[in-house]
């Protein structure tokens, strides 16, 4: 379940060092840190997508000042009193210190080009983006909020799998997040996932692949088993493109690969299209709700919102 996947996350504190240079791991080009950040942490030479933190992601997606975090007080407990070479509590404290985060997922509400959404963004730096009780509960609350408000849910995934230190409780978060997706689909509220490098194990085998539309960033590793585990099992070296987003697209496992610069527009377009359908389905209910007095309720607001996307810039890709 939990995977060993190597991801270069040298920018530990999050953000970049102004004025310094960084070399692209793919094309070895030396890149100016400020320019790299301005280019959304994408290599201007070869298009390599550097891993980014959850806060950077939210900064790139959410309209200025629109992000409101929820469930920020949730912290991991240590139900198993887990101890390997070090106690679990120490590993959590270290992750909190290194990342300035309280867990491997941030959830909240935001607006994307004026469209209200609920965002759930994972952070690989926090214990390899592993899913334990807190990640499961935060995802549940995000889904619950999406159902209450009828805002679509966008989940950005980056995970090594279920968190070993919480044992079966972590494994069962797969069941819990699946139940949350089922709640979304009963509503129905649109649910889109963005799989980033790397999305593996229990997160891939639960909510990440249960979305209405699955997007991925170029070059992301998307694989249930880690490459090392597979190599050990089949006793062969894996091809370079194994499990990458491009290979997943060819094998029909994802809908599209979206470059970081295009992500926000794509999300708004797809969600707008899905909501258009939801709105049509809800139209009779809306009329009923409005009644003779013409009261504007939740459904009316949904329709209003969809109309407001009409100006959203459409670009082909």
């Amino acid at each position: 379940m939990a995977q060993q996947v190597s991801v270069d996350i040298s920018r530990r504190g999050g953000g970049h060092d102004p004025g310094s240079a960084e070399s692209c791991p793919k094309c070895s080009q030396l890149l100016d840190s400020d320019e790299l950040a301005a280019n959304l942490m994408v290599c201007s030479h070869c298009g390599h997508h550097f891993p980014i933190t959850s806060r950077e992601r939210i900064g790139q997606l959410a309209d200025e000042g629109s992000w409101t975090e929820m469930a920020a007080n949730l912290r991991s407990a240590d139900p198993l009193e887990f101890y390997d070479l070090r106690p679990y509590v120490e590993r959590i404290e270290e992750a909190e210190y290194d990342t300035g985060l309280s867990e491997a997922m941030l959830v909240g509400t935001a607006r994307l080009h004026k469209m209200d959404v609920v965002l759930a963004v994972m952070d690989f730096r926090f214990m390899a983006g592993s899913m334990g009780s807190v990640v499961g509960e935060k995802f549940w609350r995000a889904a619950e909020r999406a159902v209450e408000t009828r805002f679509p849910l966008v989940a950005v995934c980056a995970s090594g799998g279920a968190r070993m230190q919480e044992g079966l409780l972590s494994l069962l978060q797969m069941a819990k997040t699946t139940c949350a997706v089922e709640m979304l689909s009963q509503a129905p509220v649109p649910f889109v996932t963005v799989l980033t490098h790397p999305t593996t194990g229990g997160v891939l085998a639960s909510y990440a692949t249960l979305a209405d539309v699955i997007m991925a960033e170029p070059g992301s590793l998307i694989s249930f088993s880690g490459p090392r585990v597979i190599e050990q099992t089949i006793k062969e070296k894996l091809p370079e493109d194994f499990g990458r987003a491009e290979s997943n697209l060819n094998h029909g496992q994802i809908d599209m690969i979206v470059e970081r610069a295009e992500l926000k527009n794509r999300l708004v377009q797809v969600l707008g299209m899905l909501e258009g359908g939801v709105a049509c389905a809800l139209q009779p209910l809306w009329e009923e709700e409005a009644g003779p007095a013409g009261r504007r309720g939740a459904f009316a607001q949904t329709l209003e919102r969809i109309k407001s996307f009409a100006h959203t810039p459409w670009r082909s890709s």
């Binding site: 912290r75 991991s76 549940w140 797969m174 249960l210």
Partner: protein
């Protein structure tokens, strides 16, 4: 020291008070003194070995001993028939039951054919097909879980191993018929869970159920796969540990000496548990049963919020 530790963990976390440093110091000391927490590593490792015992009854053994008739149904209608998961219609007290379970082999040839009980995506898609079939005709479902995990291979990934497990979980949340899952041997991570999102989840006494195999856990956290013994203890994967954590619905005691010594006895115990649980579940309205299932998995998790530990 244990008493002090539990006192500490009961105190709310206050800003500026570093109780957790104190707690982790005590935990480290306890660990050095041996034992670490409840249970010791050799007992947990014994259970892992028992759960994997080559003479333990497997899914088809239980089916043969529990039901007078069984018709196996095969294939996912897309790609292949995965022999690592078997399923079909069983005659059960004058009516029908859908039984789906992981299947291991007994000798080299059958072990290879069954892929050591490690399913590929087509196995999970077959399971989904059979679940949909059972749901259509109101046939209750029994799943028997016994796998080291889903198969890690290139082709399995290309055919969407992760997505196949996820969509099986989703299918189980939607079922209107009663579902009972019993861990009969190894409950190995996502590959096991895929068949275990059920109204009732029971474990045989000597079975294990875990997020990761102790060997793989040791390889990552201890950086040495040979440290599987302490990993088995730390993961709290035995039926007793999991009952204490309240993440399963019950433990079924095995016949004297273990299920591998007495297949008939084990099958009798499983059948009785099935009967009792189905009787209870069938009294609930399908809609309510489904809602209860969602609620049950929704509640799973332990975290701290505003200084309080919540279960």
């Amino acid at each position: 020291m244990r008493k002090r530790l539990s006192e500490l963990s009961r105190l709310p976390t206050l800003p500026g008070v570093h109780l957790r440093d104190e707690a982790s110091k005590i935990k480290r000391r306890l660990h050095e003194l041996g034992g670490g927490g409840r249970g010791d590593s050799s007992a947990a490792w014994e259970k892992v070995k028992l759960a994997r015992h080559a003479d333990r009854p497997y899914t088809l053994d239980y089916i043969g001993l529990m039901f007078p008739g069984f018709i196996e149904l095969r294939g996912d209608r897309c790609f292949a028939n995965d022999p690592a998961i078997v399923g079909g219609l069983a005659a059960y007290q004058g009516r029908t039951l859908m039984v789906i379970g992981h299947q291991k082999g007994r000798d080299l040839a059958s072990r290879t054919q069954r892929n050591f009980g490690m399913p590929r995506p087509e196995g999970y898609r077959k399971a989904q097909r059979l679940m949909a079939l059972a749901d259509k005709f109101g046939i209750p479902i029994l799943t028997l879980i016994d796998t080291p995990g889903a198969f890690p291979g290139i082709a399995a990934e290309e055919r969407g191993q992760g997505g196949a497990i996820a969509s099986t979980l989703m299918r189980m949340t939607r079922l209107r018929v009663p579902t009972v899952a019993i861990i009969i041997g190894e409950g190995g991570s996502g590959g096991a869970l895929a068949l275990a999102l059920a109204d009732r989840v029971l474990m045989l006494e000597n079975s294990v159920y875990s997020v990761i195999t102790p060997e793989a856990c040791a390889a990552i956290l201890w950086r040495d796969a040979k440290e599987a013994r302490p990993a088995a203890r730390a993961l709290k994967m035995t039926s007793a540990d999991l009952e204490e954590l309240e993440v399963i619905d019950g433990v079924l005691p095995e016949p004297r000496g273990g299920a591998h010594r007495d297949h008939e006895g084990a099958a009798r115990i499983v059948k009785e548990a099935l009967e009792e649980n189905l009787r209870e579940l069938e009294m609930i309205h399908p809609q309510a049963r489904r809602q209860e299932r969602l609620e049950k998995f929704r509640r799973i998790g332990v975290w701290r919020e505003n200084g309080l530990t919540l279960f």
